[in-house]
């Protein structure tokens, strides 16, 4: 029979023998193996965030070069080809290498702390997910570094990205890089889904989890369903370009519109993938500064799910101008309007939370409150493009550029920056500088609106997207200059933000466990959290475990200091999917080099495909298989013959 044990419920005092034992079990090994093989979700989460910010800066620099080129008419700062690579890589970077990875970083870091467990369900898969993200990013930038970056836009329509009109290596690298990145996103998504259903602390029922968990869960399920679409379409394009297949070869019956369908079936849900977890950040952190729980928790959680469900039915609104029948367009237009309803509900919940609370105007609050406004502006401009015949004008103009930046910066970057300010004390143990933070916010908010609001007007003045220059007589010159000034102001804001973080990480005031006096579980342990997260797996009685005494909503109290000790090994508690009843003691895998090795082998495989090194590709594929077998190699069954092998992911 499988080994069984009644888990011990008790306390582990700080600095006790037991606590030392936990540290010995969970802390990473020293040296290179500990670095490359780390499976600690907090380490992986921070790596995700830092890497994503590096890409944000790269994408930002690309944007600034474009803005210099567009600051005045007929400028010759960059060549048309360079400009096309710049706007393509800017989109690729921001949408694929910044927007989701940064949120994956937040969720990776926060989920186990919020849910009350000691790691993610598949710690090694988590490490693989990060390495693949990093390598895919480097892969995508390798072409750009040699002057062969993606140059057909981030949505890369065929046939302009096909073998005839774009024969260089640019698109091959983009296509293969996207497939590689897709693997990273998929395994990350699988990990979130299983973690949610398997590792919540006892009592952390679904109606008590923070909204960011709802957001990331929804996004992850969507990713599992739609990532294959984009990976497939990029792979088919690669086949067309390299093996002479005919999927998009319009001369042989292939269809240019197939690309648009497969891309946007992925692309539109992706927009929600990169905003729903960020909206979760606001839903969770804003209440802390309003000194009250979120108004309408259930409504916000359900709106999150509803947004994604409707989000699967709106991809055609990117294709209103492709000559599809009006009835089809009307249906997708209506769906695109209806999707605003859950967003409206959420917005009113945020406003009601501020209204019915006692706002404290700390730096994160400024980001979150302004986010609500930017969210609404980005939302209503989206409603305008959902009206089919109006979209026939707005589509592919700067109006859409304005809209998507209000959405992606307003609903991703602002919450992320607010979230960084909010959780920075937890990550580092240091508070940030309030004065610098206020300056950063002020400059960012002003710069953002100066950079992106005039784009709406440029759009209705007819300025198309993706033009490297324009003539003086088009009436766009002054507004473009304003936009450029705003872009540089925004960049200055990012600089202040980064300087604040760098200074605070070394010299910031000590934060303590719970500097904001927040309600959720991640604030119950020291800052930064110990490797094992929780000295005991807590037993949860409400959605606000640290405010229970003050909220006094029921007699019950969460037990944070007395719970499952699980000192016997690298263990955490497995619970049932819906009501989180304990039903297993899970043995968690420790540091291992296989994820890094697999990531490397997979990257070599894709690089070999890009370079047509078929032998190398075969060897790399064999290395992938060997690494996977090494990864899953079952331990010798000596003392504890149990089927824990699969838990090694």
């Amino acid at each position: 029979m499988t080994e069984q044990r009644i888990p011990h419920i008790g306390c582990v005092a700080p600095n006790s023998e037991d606590e030392k034992r936990l540290r010995d079990i969970w802390e990473a090994e020293p040296g290179l193996k500990g670095k490359l093989g780390s499976v600690d979700h907090k380490v992986i989460g921070l790596r995700y965030i830092v890497t994503a910010f590096v890409f944000l800066i790269l994408g930002g620099v690309e944007a600034l070069i474009m803005r210099l080129q567009l600051a005045r008419p007929d400028a010759g700062l960059v060549s048309p080809d360079a400009y096309n690579q710049l706007f393509s890589m800017h989109g690729v970077t921001m949408i694929f290498l910044y927007a989701l990875p940064v949120l994956s970083g937040f969720s990776n870091y926060l989920w186990p702390l919020m849910l009350g467990t000691r790691d993610m369900a598949f710690p090694r898969l988590n490490a693989l997910s990060y390495w693949l993200f990093l390598f895919a990013g480097l892969f995508l930038y390798a072409g750009f570094a040699f002057g062969h970056g993606a140059n057909a836009g981030w949505f890369n329509y065929v046939p302009v990205s096909g073998p005839i009109f774009d024969p260089g290596p640019n698109i091959d690298i983009y296509a293969l890089g996207m497939v590689l990145l897709g693997i990273s996103t998929t395994v990350g998504a699988a990990n979130f889904v299983v973690t949610l259903f398997r590792l919540r602390a006892p009592g952390m029922s679904l109606n008590r989890v923070p909204i960011i968990v709802w957001g990331t869960l929804t996004a992850s399920v969507a990713n599992l369903i739609v990532i294959p679409s984009v990976s497939l379409t990029f792979f088919l394009l690669w086949l067309d370009r390299n093996l002479g297949t005919h999927f998009f070869d319009t001369g042989a019956g292939g269809q240019a519109l197939l690309w648009q369908h497969l891309f946007w079936v992925f692309g539109h849900p992706w927009v929600y993938v990169v905003v729903l977890p960020a909206m979760g950040i606001v839903s969770d952190a804003l209440p802390t500064f309003c000194r009250r729980p979120l108004v309408g928790y259930a409504a916000v959680a359900m709106s999150t799910v509803a947004t994604m469900i409707i989000g699967f039915e709106v991809w055609i609104h990117h294709m209103f101008a492709t000559g599809l029948p009006p009835l089809v367009l009307a249906f997708f237009g209506a769906a695109s309007l209806i999707i605003a309803i859950p967003s409206a509900i959420t917005v009113f919940c945020w406003i009601a939370t501020i209204w019915a609370g006692r706002p404290q105007f700390k730096v994160p609050f400024l980001f979150f409150a302004s986010f609500v406004l930017l969210f609404v502006i980005g939302g209503v401009s989206g409603v305008m493009t959902a009206a089919v015949s109006l979209d026939w004008q707005l589509n592919e103009t700067y109006f859409v550029v304005a809209h998507l930046h209000y959405v992606l910066l307003g609903i991703n970057v602002f919450p992320v920056m607010g979230g960084v300010y909010y959780w920075f004390p937890k990550w580092t143990g240091h508070k940030t500088n309030e004065v610098l933070g206020r300056w950063a916010f002020g400059v960012l908010f002003t710069g953002f609106n100066l950079a992106f609001f005039p784009m709406h007007i440029l759009g209705v003045l007819g300025m198309p997207r993706r033009i490297y220059t324009y003539a003086p007589g088009m009436g766009w010159s002054l507004l473009n200059l304003l936009v450029t000034l705003g872009a540089f102001l925004f960049a200055l804001g990012v600089l202040i933000f980064l300087i604040d973080l760098l200074i605070s990480a070394r010299r910031g005031e000590p934060a303590g466990d719970n500097p904001w006096d927040a309600a959720s579980l991640e604030w119950s342990m020291s800052s930064p959290p110990p490797a094992y997260n929780f000295r005991v797996i807590p037993i949860i009685a409400s959605g606000h475990p640290l405010w229970e005494d003050r909220l006094n909503q029921s007699e019950q109290r969460s037990k944070l200091h007395e719970g499952f000790t699980l000192l016997e090994g690298r263990e955490t508690l497995g619970t049932s999917p819906l009501d989180s009843e304990p039903n297993a003691i899970l043995r968690m895998p420790g540091d291992h080099l296989a994820p890094f090795a697999l990531g490397l082998a997979a990257t070599v495989f894709f690089a070999a495909l890009a370079l047509h090194g078929w032998l190398w590709a075969g060897l790399a594929l064999a290395a992938c298989a060997a690494t996977l077998i090494w990864w899953f190699w079952p331990p010798k069954a000596e003392k504890a013959p149990s089927d824990r092998e699969a838990a090694h992911v």
Binding site: T2, E3, Q4, R5, I6, P7, I9, A121, F122, L125, A189, A190, V193, V194, L224, I225, V226, P228, S229, L232, T233, L236, L239, G244, T245, H246, F247, D249, G253, G254, Q255, L258, L262, V265, I540, A541, Q556, R557, G574, S576, S580, P582, N583, A584, I585, L586, R587, I629, F632, W633, P634, A637, A640, P641, S642, D643, E645, A646, A647, V649
Partner: protein, 200 residues
């Protein structure tokens, strides 16, 4: 759920039962891989209609040999169930025997499919249909090959005693993957081989 948690019964240490973490992981894989094949099938149907070409260009495919290979592949799923059944009852030899048979049947399917590819008379670059046919069956073939590697690895692990009757979950998971590969083939076979005969 209350905070007055009383645990009087022991919990299994490690993963067991239907909520095995690895099984959850496999289901997420099935969801995403199933979607992938869904997009392939949709692309096939979309291009067939939109191109306006004779579909398939050489008339409906011959069913005899593909029918046999399909039967073998589907039967191998049944044999795979026997592997787990025997392993759980500690009949290691039978388990290994059935596992070897599963691998053999999978290999026969691969060989027959290769033979079919070689005698198609066209390649993935010949025309649009050829691109779709070889890409879809090729994707499936890649999954069969991956499945064979998984099964062979399981074989070695059982032989080495690393997988034992009290911990058969790796076999359950590997077997489920094999069933998934077979189920996908039913869809691919129906779309590529059977459907053209319906309105032939």
């Amino acid at each position: 759920m209350s905070e007055d948690l009383v645990l009087d019964k022991p919990l299994p240490v490690g993963n067991t039962g239907p909520r095995h973490t690895g099984l959850w992981g496999l289901w997420t894989l099935v969801l995403t891989e199933g979607s992938l094949f869904g997009y392939l099938i949709v692309s096939y149907l979309y291009l067939g209609v939109a191109s306006g070409q004779t579909w398939p260009p050489h008339g409906p495919p011959d069913l005899l040999k593909p029918g046999i290979s399909t039967t073998i592949l589907l039967a191998s799923s049944g044999v795979m169930m026997l592997v787990e059944h025997n392993l759980k009852r500690a009949r290691i030899r039978s388990a290994l025997g059935f596992l070897a048979l599963t691998i053999l049947m999978g290999a026969v399917f691969v060989a027959m499919q290769m033979h079919e590819w070689a005698h198609k008379g066209y390649g993935p670059w010949t025309h649009l249909y050829g691109s779709l046919y070889f890409t879809i069956t090729g994707f499936h073939m890649a999954h069969v090959l991956a499945g064979l590697i998984v099964l062979a690895t399981l074989f070695v692990w059982i032989l080495m005693g690393r997988i034992r009757p009290d911990g058969p979950k790796p076999v359950t998971i590997g077997g489920l993957y094999w069933h998934f590969v077979d189920a996908v083939w039913i869809v691919v076979f129906s779309t590529l081989y059977l459907a053209p005969h319906l309105h032939g």
